[in-house]
Point group: C2
Chain length 362, copies 2
């Protein structure tokens, strides 16, 4: 099989570039002096190769080639190969990675993808709408009531705030059936197909228990922060759930993995059907260019791999809907949370406005 | 219960400090406009408080107070509260955190700690020695042979290279029994008590299976990278294993959590009995001050919580042993990996030199 090609930007003088590139190749593969390796097979097959070195804006970029077998087909070990030790070297940034064709046998990517989410929500071609149940600390009754209102307004996906985990004031086991029920009732009333994406959190045992509860009440989507539960747990959970998973970027701010690589390409590889990212012009400082690059990485043709639905979010408002659709196109889910809740007593009206504005763009 | 106090350094002008502090308090707790929250209890008990703001070297530091119940006693949600969304804000850095006294009921910290590791290895008071089996790609036989040599030299702990996971060329199920056997034989020969710490990796199912194998062959320590397997998995694994766990810092380079907080305090809270970190003057750029601060955080008195064994590593050599012990003191484990392997044919002698040098410092 061909090698995995990872591109690193290294902040160091160009005269050091060859030495630094070779040091990085050793660090990320065998992590020992190459001269002390006696085994020819290890030298030839396991040590990462320096594929190219080129200057880039005063620093340089290095492409390393990793043998796919060094990942052991494990998500944790793949992340280790790509950015394990060098995450501790502030001058090293992971800016791109490409995988050989057969690599998808180990990581098949999204199980549903954009198409699967469109089928489940019954949204043929327009952008999708999404909002969040907030704030954490609310009672189950309050969250269910909010969900009912959003569903009556016709929002496609109602997700938990990612900070609503399994706290005592609204535990998963009580919250999820109650919210599901409220949404189902609203759907019956409107003829709509709103779905709920509760937050999955905690260790393997908690996640398994949450998957069981979600199955029992026919939950149709899951919200998971891969970096909080751990990437291997994120991958495993998909097998238990068999519903689309939406990745949340919390704790993913290892600023030295380029966001399009982590939130776009890698989360997609690890199976995210939708990926949330901080939209430009909101509470976060991602540039428009970075946001569009995330969306591109999520949807770009990638052999047989399904496309991941980009979900720009974070300080968005109904006023910005047109602008966002112009930028991201239709295969996008717009997530407005606090911007709807700020309407307080006019939550239903503001939510309907959001829905209608997006529907008008079909 | 008192609040969790988290200190953030924010790179922004001081005139903004009050606004930024309040925005961060909302971001990390309720993640919605405070003005849109109607529930008095949420406002009083759930919204994070701004405890103090003070200038710091041109920027400012903010202490936020988080209600312990917002963590739901989950490791993933605790990390989310501390650094979930704001990990995506490059101007925000988490520089300290302190927990209220009763918080240890949720996270009891190390199960063995320094004392437990000293009991298991039979090392009363001198610093401990540690080395690593490398490189990945080696056969089981080669790794077992290396382990035998290191054990004959009397090294206290032989860990896997953290990149040796569960790859086809030396799978856990074959490697671990073989290395255990080689070490046991050497121990019988020398009367020593060398132990082996294999790498645990992958998702929950893999980890459980690895725990079963490790138990079957009486493995006495585990090497785990919490950020690669996921912090909740790291916490859960300890229950399955019931042996000391050594935390590896791979993929922990979220450079904006101060290393003493993440590798020292938080890894300790989450149960690391020993914590590996890149020593100053090696292949990584951590300063001497940062390294000593990590060691302090690992060992500092913390109510009833056991102390975590600091394990400086990364490009170390036998020549630097004196210097390291002078800096870190006796409650330390010195880890030299590649620096021993570079001796090739004289591996046993170089390893003995390492052991004797440390023993001479008792």
């Amino acid at each position: 099989m061909d090698r995995i090609l990872a591109t690193y930007r290294i902040t160091a003088s160009e005269s050091e570039s060859r030495v630094r590139a070779e040091a990085l190749a050793a660090e990320q593969s065998v992590e020992m002096p190459i001269s002390a390796i006696g085994d020819e097979r290890v030298l030839k097959e396991i040590v990462a190769t320096v594929e190219s070195i080129r200057p880039h804006a005063g620093d340089f970029e290095v492409v390393l080639g990793f043998a796919p077998q060094t990942t052991g087909n494990e998500a944790s070990q793949l992340m280790n190969v790509l950015f394990g030790n060098c995450s501790l070297q502030p001058e090293v940034e992971l800016v791109d990675v490409t995988f050989p064709a057969e690599f998808e046998q180990a990581f098949p990517g999204p199980r549903f993808g954009i198409e699967g989410i469109r089928t489940i929500t019954g949204v043929a071609s327009r952008p999708l709408t999404c909002t969040a149940l907030k704030p954490q600390g609310s009672s189950v009754e309050h969250l269910a009531q909010l969900a009912r209102t959003f569903a009556l307004a016709g929002i496609d996906v109602i997700k938990d705030d990612h900070g609503i985990a399994n706290q005592a004031y609204a535990p998963f086991a009580q919250r999820v059936p109650a919210v599901q029920k409220a949404i189902a009732e609203a759907n019956r009333q409107t003829g709509g197909r709103t779905i709920y994406a509760p937050t999955f959190s905690g260790g393997g045992r908690s996640l398994m228990e949450q998957a069981r509860i979600a199955k029992d009440c026919a939950v149709k989507m899951a919200l998971v922060a891969p970096m909080l539960v751990g990437i291997p747990a994120f991958v495993e959970l998909q097998v238990d759930l068999d519903i689309p998973v939406m990745a949340h970027p919390a704790f993913a701010g290892a600023a030295r993995i380029a966001p399009p690589v982590l939130l776009g390409k890698l989360f997609r590889l690890f199976g995210a059907d939708a990926t949330i990212f901080p939209n430009h012009g909101g509470r976060f400082s991602f540039s428009r260019e970075t946001c569009l690059a995330i969306a591109r990485a999520a949807r770009a043709p990638w052999r047989d791999m399904r496309a991941t639905l980009p979900v720009p979010a974070g300080g968005m408002s109904v006023e910005r809907v047109d602008d966002m659709i112009a930028g991201y196109g239709n295969d996008t889910m717009l997530l407005i949370g606090g911007g709807l809740l700020a309407a307080k007593g006019e939550l239903l009206e503001r939510s309907r406005e959001f829905v209608n504005k997006v529907a008008g763009k079909r």
